[in-house]
Every structure is written in structure tokens, then in C-alpha cells.
Symmetry: C2
Subunit: 710 residues, 2 copies
């Protein structure tokens, strides 16, 4: 386990400040669950008003405890907290958990207390957990001060932002017979952050799957980096609420955390390989399968049943969740056909109705050729398995048990997952018990079986991506770039003029159009002649950010006469509309007619930090919101994924008689923008709009570059 | 009940031909379930090889039965079926159910037998059910020859295309304590069709909700019309598989029915008010809620819980399924606030944590102002209700029961639905039992509660639409239209020339551009001058369907010189590329530059018959597949819905500085196309592409009109 949190999750002794035995009180529930949970270390209840609590001797203060204390749990009113934290640090505690609510989430007073205790603990190098959290469960230490009795040990670990959701999850898990390794309520996460917990659970040998419940994202960039490292080792399944506007309202009133745009959250999670689910059912379905089943190499699934209707339902469910149901190869079909009724196709889905019902071992015999085939990554059995003895005749029962044992063996032998849906999954049936004990996931619902299998494939592929992931090389910005930024900042500006911005891009090897800066009509016409008509003129001024708004742009100028006229026009309009603006010249650029318009942007997102955006121009972004996002740093190959995942991608490939565009150049451009943005943290936002992608090459036609600052 | 099927679903006597008592045989299971099911009429087993079956005397043939027979059930090999059908008709049977498989779905031989028995029964006016069906259950007659024991009585009725899915559904319902009024397996539906069953169940007083399971759609137009009539009375919930390609493969190999494009299916179902679900869980969740709860007037839901996290999850789930979670009005908030902790917002979702847990009657008190408010259509309670006695203290239990009774009363009083999600829903808890018995739907999953509530709103609004639905008036086509079609058909053509097609549209009041037909260069230039430049020229020939392919079109002609050149060019190109084509003249039309390009189409769909299609032009249809469909006849107002439901609709409203387009004219155009297409069944397909919608008016720029026939 991540050594730094080891003593917090496996403390040798715990002081519980505000300990209570008054029924109904939060402190009482936590004191009791700690004692009843069988914690093996020493417990020191701290409460100056009592001599004993649950028959343990109490202490008037942390300082009064004579023995060493590893962990201090605090459940007392806010004003008294800083003093207890100070004493705990002096006492040598390695971790302090503040359960008390009503701090940072309620207002400034609480925020001040948070800041104070954070300073104390940081100076001392002590872990601060919470405040406003509901406690912690650690199976390895038999430690449970969540106030929830009867938690089972197991291989799932939970990190959650909401205490009452931990209650729900615990209850749900109990109903399903699932157990936990660690449950951590992070509360306001003033000290230890989500990503710290992830790195810790990544190394916890008892944790097979990490379950996250999130309402808001803080330090999202750290989260994504830590998640990617974790995903390379073990799965993370996340339920993130606030997808919709009412969800955001509920989450905001709950934790005081700001929940941002949900599209960005999904993109970031996918990038890191986090499996995102929509609800608690899915959370446990997916976590359970991830904890038990081998990982498939892809999304191709063979579906088998004794009924065509169930097969049709299963195939629909599978494909809706992104699995593929390929037609099996001829040799696989041939190997299966002897087990089917005369004339039944063995394409996939496979219908062994009429044979398997009376002779269930037909089922593993049909599975085996599928598992042997390189075209099948997983098996999905659907229908009535386990119920044949009831539907057909009792003597079939032992044959079903034989089939179940064989299925368990097949999974071990081929290391490919088998998932079973059975209408009889709720019943107590020996054959189904063999599947359960053999680690074969069993579902009463075909839909949920398909979703879990799809998530298994998502994770398996995400893990591969996380393991292969290499960030694009980022070093330090070219000196000339620093000079430009220095000049802009010393002039008190927060944006670059267009020639400055174009120069900036050029220094990073980002293609910009040929251009000239001119200061007279004649120079303008001459420059236009050299560049080639038609051209555009744009005013250059450190005081003007939106050039079009002040009449500072003239487009599509076809000859010298028009250029000269436009030159005068721009000067006149800008002087009359913005007389204080200093005009440093006029930019002459050729009009680029050819190519597909795209948009490339980069922002510092309040949730995830530096991010990059890609979309097609115009209505595709503005009306259809057809854009892709990535958190920076960008990994190798991710620019290509960004381009391919937008809905309008076929337009770049060439449709309706248009030739394909230069996607490779566009990828290179995106990558260079990503590197530029990471290497220059002074840049707050950049907007390359439009970028024209031609049959050969991609060029930035207009750029806006805004700096942090005034 | 629909009188014509009354005797089939409530027969006074049943002959079962092929009756058996050999364990494991399909006929044995059906004979036994009929006898054990407690059927109150007479049962006549027919089997020449036995004297008695299950202690009932047998008959060697149907003719040999001395008493009247209402219903004959047939489970014998195909070749013997026609003779039995003949005898049954002579015997005066009102219905014949053929369970035997291996007929129309396997090949021509079977199809011939189907045709033969259909002819016999149709002549006699006898209902033919199946073949290849699995039987029937009718609670009112205590009749069950499905071969599935232990079916409970209730208010759900099932009509299904797959026998083994009926097995699944029965098992699922038994696990959930749900019961049925009728279960009908339609098999190949050679005689009685799906829409006949719908009309029958519409009038069945015992049926509250109709559940459909479909693999393929036949007679889709009849289905949609019958469904709309039914939906005006009671809900239909449909699980239609074959959404995806593998689903289609599985369904096709199963029933031999062709499953078409799924987008069309969803559109048609929505149009009729059928609630479509994705899987068996949803089917029962939704059916159960529809059978119990009052119908909401809209989609606005108040969400309440003792925990902010559960509220956030519920709000997400609600909005994802199309419900709205509005901020409550000030007076409603004020009425709720006294029941909340100091400082807790009452906006919605409402968090009564800290009060309701110790005093559960706070819950109905918070619900009441919501129910009184005109801004709330339904209530969604989420969290731990029922489990407070376990979490807090046992004395809370009776208070939870009091709260549950009050919730039941509130539903009755306000006739608005309350749906409850509780983590404790699986447990045996008195408070939850009160909810169940009081008809309040209870879910263990927040997601499934939200989905069911959304489906309730979908149905309620769909019912209103079905009740208000009036078809657009359709009469008989104008005589001049008949003349055009007559001329085209007598010339052996299957498409109209463009002037013919334009004339056809004009006769229906569909706006077409001014145009001239010319036969010389000079006439062309003169016509262009009158119409105004720029113009387009198009060849007119009864032999040319795709004019552009043979060089028969010239666009954007700016002056007389270009027009004359183009005139010659078209003649030359067409003569060289299609020398056999007779050129009847050249069409001169002005180019319409302004406006937004749309596509309007009409087809005779193999599943749903006449349908109309709408989309924006170009990439919107070809790349983004952003189109809307409706089955004809179109109802009043449906054209407007079609236009508004495409993703690109904002473009018609005007974005990026473009003025809004004339949507009313576009609606009128769609409606007239719908009427034209219905009134002229000789037209197989029409394609108005593009239609230009301007700020004022909408005009068809190009039209292709293809007839049925050679």
C-alpha cells in the first residue's frame, strides 16, 4: 500500500474525540461501530464529561492519553477543533479524521477553521481527512468508524464524497452479499485528496476494484493522472452525479462543490480508463464482474441460449452497450452444429433449444469452440439455465450441475469471461450455486448482464491504453516565445496581437498563412500582389481584441483597387469607433478558400485544468455541439482519437464527392497546440478558429490568444 | 371485449388434438396445464391411440365429439393439420389454435399448408391462431394451454411473438408477484393479427396494461392505428427486439420475419403512444407502475430524500429519462421550509435529512405542498424510507407506518403519482408493505424508479395525444392528377417527368418555382429573361430518371449567352450519352439561392406502409442521419412535431445571424405531401430534394416521383 497512508488505514491506536454512548447521536454510532467492529488496536475515547464510554475508560483530552496515538477521529463542534488538532499533532498522530460538518461547506467562518487546521497538519506532515466526512472502514485493521454495522470483508473499495451514499452502498452490498476492503468518506477533502486515496488503493493488495462516488471534481488533472496509473493496475468504476442541471443543483446544495460541464467529465474519465456508470445498480454489477471475471481482449461476444427470443433480446442488449456479435468462422460453426437440432444455424447467436434443455452439457460443448476461436472474446449465455430441471424434468438437475462445473473449468482454461443470464437467477439452485462459487457472474436481467460484460471489455481495453500511454514530449518554451509574452505583459495587455500570436504559433511549428504587415495603401497593394488575390486586411492594434466589432477587418479583396479602398476604410472606421486605439499596422493575408473549417481550442478548465478541444467549424460546434475534449498532457495517438470521435468525422474523410482531408497534418497541429499550451501556463485560453484542413496540410486562419492576468 | 374474439378467449369447450400424457412432450405440458389450471368448461382430448388421457375420455377425431366445441387446439404434425381444420370448421368451432411449428417459418411446403388452412377458416369466418405459437392463457376462463404452470391472475395482458419469451416473462412475473389477465402467443399470425388482439384487449375490462413482445412487424399500419385507439383507453408497453444488426440476425433465424430499420419502429411507436422499453426489467417496471399509479399531467417531478447524495442521483436519473426537476414556486418552498433543518434549501430536490429520519411523518408533510402546487406533476421519494427504524431506532418504525399511510392517502386525494425508491425495498418492513398495498410503486433502484415514472408521464401525454388525434382530411385525388398518372402508366413508364411531377404537386397546392418549357435556344433565353437570372436548364424526357447523370442539367446560368450555350450543351450530351431518349423539351427554372435546404420524402415501408420523412439537406441527412418519420395518415399538428424533433431544428429557427425560416409554410408543405401520397396509392416513392425554406414561404426545387409497377 502507498506507504504514506498506511498508518491511517491500519493504525495501531485510535483516539475518538467527542466519543459518546447517547443513542441516536452520530458520535455514538461511530464509537459503537468501532468497538463492535472488532478493531484490534487500542481505542481511547476522549470526552471530558464522562468517565467511561461503552465500558472503556475515557480521557479528558488527546494530550491526556499516556500512550502513542496513530489516528485521531474528531466529532466535536467546529470552534474546538483547532486546539484538538494541535494536541494531536504534538501527540505524534499520523492521521486526523474530522467528521464534524458545518465547516468549509457552510461559509467563511468554517473556511477559516479549515485553513487553520490545514496549516497545522501540513507543517507537521500529518494527514488531514475531511472535514464533513462520515468516517472510514478498513477490513485489514478491522476498523470501522462509519457508524454502519455489519460490513462484510471483500475486495471492493469505495471512495465517496457523500456520507449518506456510503450508507446506501453498504446496504445494497449487504443485500447482494458483497464485501469491502476499504470504505473512505473524503468529505471536503481539505488535506488528503481523491488522487491520494487512489494511489493508496492502487497498491492495496486486498482491493480488486475501486468504486468512486463523486458529486464535484476538484484537482481533476491530478485525479486523471492518478486514475490512469491506477487503471493500469486495477479497475476504477465511477458514479459521478450532476450530469444534468437538477443533479447539479442537488449536488451543489449538498457539498458546496462546483460541478462543471458533464461532457467534459465523461471525456476525461474515458481518457483515463475510468469506467463510468449511471447508477448504483450498474456500479455493483460492473464492480462485481470486474472483481471476478478474466478480462476479454476485445468486444466480440458469442451469445447462446435455448431460445431464439432470448437470443434476440441478448444480442440487442449486447450491441446497444457497444459489444459486437460477429458471425462465427466456418470451422467454429462446424464444431458447434453437431450439438444443435437439424437445420439450426450456428452463426451467432446460437440456439441450442431442443438439445440443451434435455442434455445441459451441450452448453459447455457449444461454448468450447467459441472460446477456442480467435474471433470471440467473451461468452454470454442467456435464457433459463438452472431452471431446466423445473421446466423439463427433475432428472435434468444433475446434468445442469455437470454443465455448470464444466463452464467454470472452461473459464479457467481459456481465460475468457463467461457471463450468464438466467430467469432463475434468484432461485436457490445447485447448478447456479456452482456458477457463483466458480466466479461466473450470474444475472437475473439480460440487460444488466450485457452492460456488465461491456464494462468488462471497456476496462480491459482502457487498461491496455493506460499501460501504453506516453505523454507527448513537453520541454520548455522557445526563448522567442518568452520574449513575446514578456513584451505583452510588460505593456499591461492580456492578449496578443494577431502578428504576435501567429509568430507564437510559428515558433511551435504550427502552420500559419503567409502574411505581411503594411503601413500604407501602396505597401498593402504590393503585399497583396505578392501573396496572391483574393486577400483579407486586418487591423493590428494592442488595444483591439475583437477586430470585426470595430470594422477592423475586410475580406475577399479581389484587386489592388479594393485593397487600397479597404486599407483606408479600416483606418477610418477604427479611428472613429475606437479613437484611443493605437494602430500598429495592417495585416495582409491571402484568403484560403479550399478545405474544411475546424476549430481547435485550449482552456484551463476549473475542474480538469489544461484541456484541449476539437470540432468542425460553424454549426457543428454552435448548434450540434459536436466536439471532443482531452485533458492535457495529451498522450501519443490521442489527437487522432479526438478527430475520429466527432460525429462529423466522415466529412473529413471525404463525402459527397469531396476528396479526403489531410488528417495526419491536423493531428500534428493538435499535438503542437497541446504542447504549446502546457509549456506556457501564462496562456489562459486559445482559440484557433477557423483552422482550414486541406487535401494536403492544415492552416490556422485566425487565432486569439488570451493570457492570465488583469 | 371485442366481441369477435370473445369465444376464443372464453370458450365453453375445448378440443385438444394431439393431447398427450407422455412426460416431456410439448403436448403433454399443454394438456396438463389446461386440466390443472382449473378450466371450467369441457375438455375433449383427441388422440386415436389412447382411450383416456389424464383420466379424461379421448376421441379419435374432432368429428367424433358429440357435443359442441368452441375452440380447437392443434398439436399434431403439419400434414395432418388441414383435415383437422376442416373437421373443426364443420363442427362449428369459433376458433382454431395451431401450436405445431415447422410451417410457414421453415419453407414453401409449410407456407402451402398455412394458405390452405387460412382459406378454410376465412371462408367459414373462424378465427385462426398461430401456427407456431405456444398457446394461450385467459384468467376469465381459467384457461391455460401454454404449458406453464402456476400463472397468477392479475391485470397485465401479454401478446408475444415468441413462445420462449412467454416462458421468461411468466417466470419473471411470478418472482415479482405479478399476475395476468390474458397471455397470447401469436406465432406466425396467419389468421388473427396483432392488431386484432389489441382491439380485443382494449375492450377487456380485466386488462389494465398490454405488454407486447415483438421480433418483426407485419401489417404495421394496422398495428399503429389499432394501437392509437387502444392507447386512448389503456397503456401499451412494447419490447421490440432487432434494434441492432445481431438482434436482427437472431430474430430472423427465429421467426422468418423480416425486421426493418429500427429508427422507423421507434418513430412509429412514439407516434401511436406505445411506450417502448429496452428489456424485460423495464417491461415489468413500467407495466406495474402503469397498472397502479394515477397518470401525471406532465413531466415535472419533485424529488425528496433525507440525503443530498441520493437526491443528486435521483435528479440525474430523472432528467436522463426526460423528466423535469423544476425549482418550486416561492409559496411551495415556504410551506415546506418549516419541516427542514435551519438553512436547508427547499428548491427541489428537497433534503429533509435530520428531521424526517427521527420523525418520518415529515415526509408526507413535505409532499403535500408539492402535490398542491400546479408546478409539480409527480413525486419521487428516494433514500432509506422504511429503514429508519433500523438506522435510527426501533421506535421510529410506527412513525414510518404512519407516514406510509399518509402517503397512500395523498395519492388518492391529489391523484398525482408518488414513486418511492428505498435501499430497503427488498426487506420485509411494515411501512413498505403499507405502500405496496396502497398501490405506491416501490423500487430498490433509483434509476428504475425514475425510468418507470418517466414512462408513466410518456404514456399520460401519449394518451392525451391519442385522444386528440385527428387525421388530416384525405379525399380523392383531383381528376387532373388521375389524368397525369393514367398517361404515364399507359406509356409504360414508372416515373413522371419533371414538368408532370411539378404539375402534380401544384394540383395539391404545393409551392413549386415558376418555370417554362422551351424547345429552342431563343425561347430558352426569352423564358430566362422573364423568370430572372440566374436560371437552371433541365432536360425533359420520359426516358430519363436521373437527369444529371446524362449531362441533362445546367445550373447557375447568368445571361442569355450562357443559357443558349447550355441549351445546346444539354442536347449534345444527352444525344451522345442516351441516343434513344426522346427529348420533349427543356425546363427553365430560376435558381433559388435564398433559404435553407430541406428534404421531404414519402415511401411505402415494408413494415409500416405509407410513411413520410423530413430532414435538412445535404450532410444532415447523408452523414448525420438527422431525420424524422411518421406513419400516414398524418395527424393534425404532427408535421410541426416532425420539423421540431430533428437535431438541426435551431438552424430553421435562425442562428448565427440568419433570420428565422417560415416553419408554418414548411408544415403546410409536409401536410400536403402526406395527403397527396395517401390519396395516390399508385405512387411508390417521392423525393422532394431540395425543398428551400425561405423567410417567407417554402418551395420544392426538385422532385422525383416514382410509381408502383414495372
Amino acid at each position: 500500500m502507498h506507504s504514506s497512508l498506511e498508518r491511517v488505514l491500519n493504525p495501531r491506536s485510535i483516539a475518538i474525540v467527542g466519543a459518546s454512548e447517547t443513542p441516536g447521536k452520530a458520535a455514538e454510532r461511530r464509537t459503537r461501530s468501532l468497538i463492535e467492529g472488532g478493531y484490534r488496536g487500542r481505542i481511547f475515547p476522549v470526552n471530558p464529561k464522562r468517565r467511561r464510554i461503552f465500558s472503556l475508560p475515557t480521557y479528558p483530552s488527546v494530550s491526556a492519553i499516556e500512550e502513542p496515538v496513530d489516528l485521531v477521529v474528531i466529532i466535536i463542534p467546529p470552534p474546538a477543533i483547532p486546539q484538538v488538532v494541535r494536541e494531536s499533532v504534538e501527540k505524534g498522530a499520523q492521521g486526523i479524521v474530522i467528521i464534524t460538518a458545518g465547516l468549509g461547506e457552510t461559509g467563511n467562518e468554517g473556511k477559516q477553521i479549515e485553513a487553520e487546521v490545514l496549516e497545522i497538519t501540513q507543517k507537521a506532515g500529518v494527514h488531514l481527512i475531511g472535514p464533513n466526512c462520515s468516517g472510514m472502514f478498513s477490513a485489514s485493521a478491522s476498523m470501522n468508524f462509519l457508524g454502519i454495522p455489519g460490513l462484510q470483508r471483500g475486495h471492493l473499495s469505495v471512495v465517496a464524497q457523500s456520507g449518506n451514499v456510503i450508507d446506501s452502498l453498504s446496504h445494497y452490498a449487504r443485500n447482494r452479499g458483497l464485501g469491502f476492503s476499504k470504505i473512505i468518506s473524503i468529505g471536503n477533502a481539505v488535506g488528503v485528496k481523491l488522487h491520494d486515496y487512489l494511489r493508496c488503493l492502487k497498491d492495496d493488495p486486498d482491493t480488486r476494484v475501486i468504486l468512486l462516488y463523486l458529486e464535484g471534481i476538484q484537482n481533476g488533472n491530478d485525479l486523471i493522472q492518478a486514475a490512469r496509473e491506477t487503471v493500469a493496475q486495477k479497475p476504477i468504476v465511477a458514479l459521478k452525479v450532476g450530469r444534468t442541471s437538477a443533479g447539479i443543483r442537488a449536488a451543489a446544495s449538498h457539498t458546496g462543490s462546483l460541478t462543471g460541464d458533464d461532457t467534459v467529465v465523461s471525456a476525461a474519465f474515458r481518457q483515463a480508463g475510468i469506467v463510468r456508470v449511471n447508477n448504483v445498480d450498474e456500479l455493483f454489477d460492473v464492480a462485481d464482474v470486474l472483481a471476478k471475471a478474466p478480462y476479454p481482449r476485445g468486444r466480440r461476444v458469442a451469445i447462446l441460449s435455448e431460445g431464439g427470443g432470448d437470443n434476440a433480446i441478448a444480442a440487442d442488449n449486447a450491441e446497444r452497450h457497444g459489444l459486437q456479435v460477429p458471425v462465427l468462422g466456418p470451422s467454429t460453426q462446424e464444431a458447434i452444429r453437431p450439438f444443435l437440432l437439424e437445420g439450426m444455424p450456428a452463426k451467432n447467436p446460437i440456439d441450442y433449444g431442443g438439445t440443451a434443455e434435455e442434455d445441459p452439457p451441450v452448453i459447455p460443448r457449444c461454448c468450447q469452440p467459441c472460446l477456442e476461436s480467435d474471433d470471440v472474446d467473451a461468452i454470454f449465455i442467456t435464457g433459463f439455465f438452472g431452471g431446466f430441471r423445473e421446466i423439463i424434468a427433475p432428472h435434468v438437475g444433475p446434468l445442469e450441475e455437470e454443465a455448470a462445473r464444466e463452464l467454470v473449468n472452461l473459464v479457467k482454461k481459456f481465460e475468457k469471461p463467461i457471463v450468464v443470464h438466467s430467469s432463475f437467477a434468484r432461485d436457490e439452485i445447485p447448478a447456479l450455486q456452482i456458477l457463483r462459487e466458480g466466479g461466473i457472474p450470474l444475472f437475473e436481467s439480460s440487460e444488466r448482464a450485457a452492460l456488465a460484460l461491456a464494462a468488462l471489455a471497456d476496462y480491459a481495453l482502457g487498461r491496455e491504453r493506460a499501460r501504453r500511454w506516453r505523454p507527448l514530449r513537453s520541454e520548455s518554451p522557445p526563448a522567442a516565445c518568452q520574449d513575446i509574452l514578456h513584451k505583452v505583459l510588460t505593456q499591461g495587455r492580456n492578449h496578443l496581437t494577431e502578428p504576435e500570436a501567429l509568430r507564437f504559433l510559428e515558433l511551435y511549428g504550427i502552420p500559419t498563412p503567409a502574411h505581411r504587415i503594411v503601413s500604407s495603401e501602396e505597401e498593402a497593394a504590393e503585399a497583396a500582389g505578392e501573396l496572391g488575390y483574393p486577400v483579407a486586411l486586418k487591423v493590428i492594434s494592442p488595444h483591439i481584441l475583437h477586430k470585426s466589432d470595430v470594422g477592423g477587418v475586410a475580406l475577399d479583396l479581389a484587386d489592388a483597387l479594393q485593397v487600397k479602398e479597404a486599407f483606408r476604410g479600416i483606418h477610418e472606421r477604427v479611428r472613429s469607433r475606437m479613437p484611443e486605439a493605437r494602430i500598429e499596422g495592417i495585416l495582409v493575408v491571402p484568403m484560403v478558400q479550399q478545405g474544411m473549417e475546424c476549430i481547435v481550442g485550449a482552456v484551463r478548465d476549473p475542474q480538469f485544468g489544461p484541456m484541449i478541444l476539437f470540432g468542425l467549424g460553424g454549426i457543428f460546434v454552435e448548434v450540434l455541439r459536436d466536439v471532443s475534449f482531452r485533458v492535457l498532457p495529451l498522450g501519443e495517438g490521442e489527437a487522432g482519437e479526438m478527430i475520429r470521435e466527432i460525429q462529423g468525422f466522415p466529412l473529413l474523410q471525404g463525402v459527397r464527392g469531396h476528396p479526403p482531408k489531410d488528417i495526419l497534418s491536423l493531428e500534428g497541429l493538435l499535438e503542437r497546440v497541446a504542447i504549446l499550451f502546457l509549456e506556457n501556463p501564462q496562456i489562459r485560453e486559445m482559440d484557433l478558429n477557423p483552422v482550414k484542413v486541406q487535401e494536403s496540410g492544415a492552416t490556422v486562419l485566425d487565432v486569439r490568444l488570451v493570457l492570465e492576468g488583469p
